[in-house]
């Protein structure tokens, strides 16, 4: 039997491996700078050591054994003391959606550390009913909020382009989300921005675990229309060929680094200062800000409380399944295994049961939003399947490698 070497897309590792401790596979891409994302880019992926344990699991060991959380909490106190306003002005910006994580972070900073946060929200593509309700409950739990909703026409265009060129419909949301807080920091001159968890929690750049802040390169740049990409297309091409104006592009473009430097903008992660545990955030948010889980589990996973506010969100995970073989149940379970909520055995059973589930609930809405036909949708999906991950047998697609 001839062994034909299978083509691998996206520069992913050709051999598929699963972490021995959690449910993550080695195909998981690391965080990238989204506004530089071109279709032909090779993706850096999560690191697996010689024992086939992923860097996220190794980091969770560090969390358990090597970090002095008492000291870190002290540092948070000092950070807050340094920035706390004395005249009633906002002293920090907390980006969020009213989900369990931002509900936790904002409540902690305001009611435990006495800060005066301005919460800022980058609107989901399409709010779900539960998403809107939780957003409202969050505000009514006692927070000032600015909701930024981008130009709908452009947002839909970018979503469609991102889907067609990158099989990444969620990109416009992700980009805008990253830009929102720095944008308001620049606008209002508020230097301190506080996020929830650092990408280190998911195994990215574990060597940066000692750093409380995000690298400015993720959110700042001298705006240059040729090197900035949205939807896999350069900003210049968007203007010249897609009828988009330079003005329209503003919310998606990184803020000028010099401007932020003058203000002294810093983006901190709460996960540096406190042991990050999403399930504990759920409990905290349920008790303090009225956060409610959904009535049904999210398609593609078993969870009812994780990331439930955008109708497009399930398609984000469906496309990660297509491109990397990793669906939502894998993301959810990997984190829960690391935090000791479920065993790997249970995680594997959950992944096998739910990961491949197609998110049919909002499919029609999604097609309408992007303005494409179902046929076109499947065209894009099928040509995005990396041959080293997928095979077609008896007319249907199946992953070559399933976790065991």
């Amino acid at each position: 039997m001839s062994e034909k070497k299978l083509e691998t897309y996206y520069g992913l590792p050709s051999e598929v491996k699963f972490c021995k401790r959690c449910t993550m596979s080695n195909q998981r891409p690391s965080c990238v700078v989204e506004f530089k994302h071109k279709p032909e880019d090779k993706k850096p992926t999560i690191f697996f050591d010689e024992e086939e344990v992923c860097s996220a699991c190794r980091f969770s060991d560090i969390k358990e054994t090597k970090i002095d959380w008492v000291q870190r909490e002290k540092e948070l106190g000092e950070l807050c003391n340094k920035h706390r306003s004395k005249d009633g002005s906002y002293d920090c910006i907390i980006p969020g959606s009213g989900g369990k994580d931002s509900a936790y972070v904002s409540h902690l900073l305001k009611y435990k550390y006495g800060m005066n946060p301005l919460t800022v929200t980058w609107s989901p593509h399409k709010y779900t009913a539960i998403g809107w309700q939780n957003f409202q409950r969050w505000i009514h739990a006692g927070f000032d909020n600015i909701l930024t909703t981008p130009n709908g026409k452009l947002h839909r265009l970018l979503t469609c382009l991102a889907f067609e060129n990158l099989c990444h419909p969620f990109q416009p949301f992700i980009i805008g989300q990253k830009m929102t807080a720095p944008r308001y920091s620049a606008l209002y001159g508020i230097p301190l921005i506080i996020y929830g968890e650092s990408p280190v929690e998911y195994g990215n750049s574990i060597e940066e675990a000692d750093r409380p802040t995000m690298f400015p390169s993720f959110y700042t740049e001298k705006p240059d229309l040729d090197s900035l990409y949205l939807g896999g297309v350069s900003a210049r091409e968007l203007i010249e060929q897609h009828g988009v104006s330079r003005n329209d592009l503003n919310p998606y473009l990184p803020v000028d680094g010099e401007r932020l430097q003058k203000i002294g903008t810093e983006v901190h992660f709460i996960s540096y200062y406190q042991k990050w545990d999403p399930q504990e955030n759920y409990y905290y948010a349920s008790e303090h800000s009225g956060f409610q889980s959904n009535t049904e589990r999210t398609e593609g996973s078993y969870s009812k409380y994780s990331s439930i506010d955008d109708e497009i969100d399930p398609f984000h995970y469906y496309t990660t399944l297509i491109k990397f073989g990793i669906g939502r149940a894998t993301y959810d379970s990997a984190q829960e295994v690391r935090n000791g909520k479920i065993t790997r055995e249970e995680g594997v059973a959950l992944v096998r049961r739910y990961d491949g589930e197609f998110p049919s609930r909002f499919f029609e809405n999604m097609l309408e939003y992007m303005g494409i036909s179902e046929e076109k949708f499947w065209d894009v999906i099928n040509r995005s399947r990396s041959p080293h991950l997928w095979e077609k047998s008896y007319g249907s697609w199946a992953l070559r490698h399933q976790i065991t």
């Binding site: 399930q279 759920y282 349920s286 889980s293 049904e296 009812k304 909520k341 065993t343 249970e346 059973a349």
Partner: protein
Amino acid sequence: MLKKRIIARIDVKNEFVIKGIHLEGLRKVGDPHELAVRYYEGGIDEIIFMDAVASLYGRNNLFHIIEQACRDVFVPITVGGGIRSLTDIEKALKSGADKVALNTQAVKTPQLVSDAARIFGSQCIVSSIEAKRAGNSWEAYIDNGREHTGIDAIQWARQLQELGAGELLITSVDREGTKSGFDNDLLSRVCDQIIVPVIASGGAGVHTHVVTMFDSSQSDAVALASLLHYNLTTVKVLKADLAENGVPVRL
């Protein structure tokens, strides 16, 4: 006169007792045997052990816990979660359980309920319904509140009685784990329509919730989890308070 029963509901996963909110976000709260004995010594009337991952694995894993519990706990024990066949029921009863609770499989094959009632007796069969409010009525959920069925919960309760269920365990998915009180509308509606005993579950946060529930519905028993597992009260203190408020309980 017949007393109202106070039942401890112990959800188990991987040898730990777990508790969540809305059947979600499950936290470990203790050891099943230890809690069962503690509640028994405190005067609990019955114990329900539920296997929280049985549906996922396709098997109930609690039989060894039941065997052990039977040695030290001399009140009725019910076991549920992933009970799919007559063989499962037989195994459960042989391990020492007095009753089994059926939910997911009963919805998929209602025949199981009638067969089980015929072979093992109705008194062994507790039909469990997870109900979530839907408009003017409630919808039945399965798989530990993960999947909805499109079936009206009240109608389903009637059907289960006809099939031969000896008792109904009614859990409110909306209230479960929230400690905000029972869904008394749901319970009254069920009790109005059926004559087999009803066990109310889901929502107790303080003693008054339990008193109000017994006052406003004809439920015969209450299954408590958060209230007991998080040490918000003890069985003794709760029963004393209930008695003082006119609820007939075994002291």
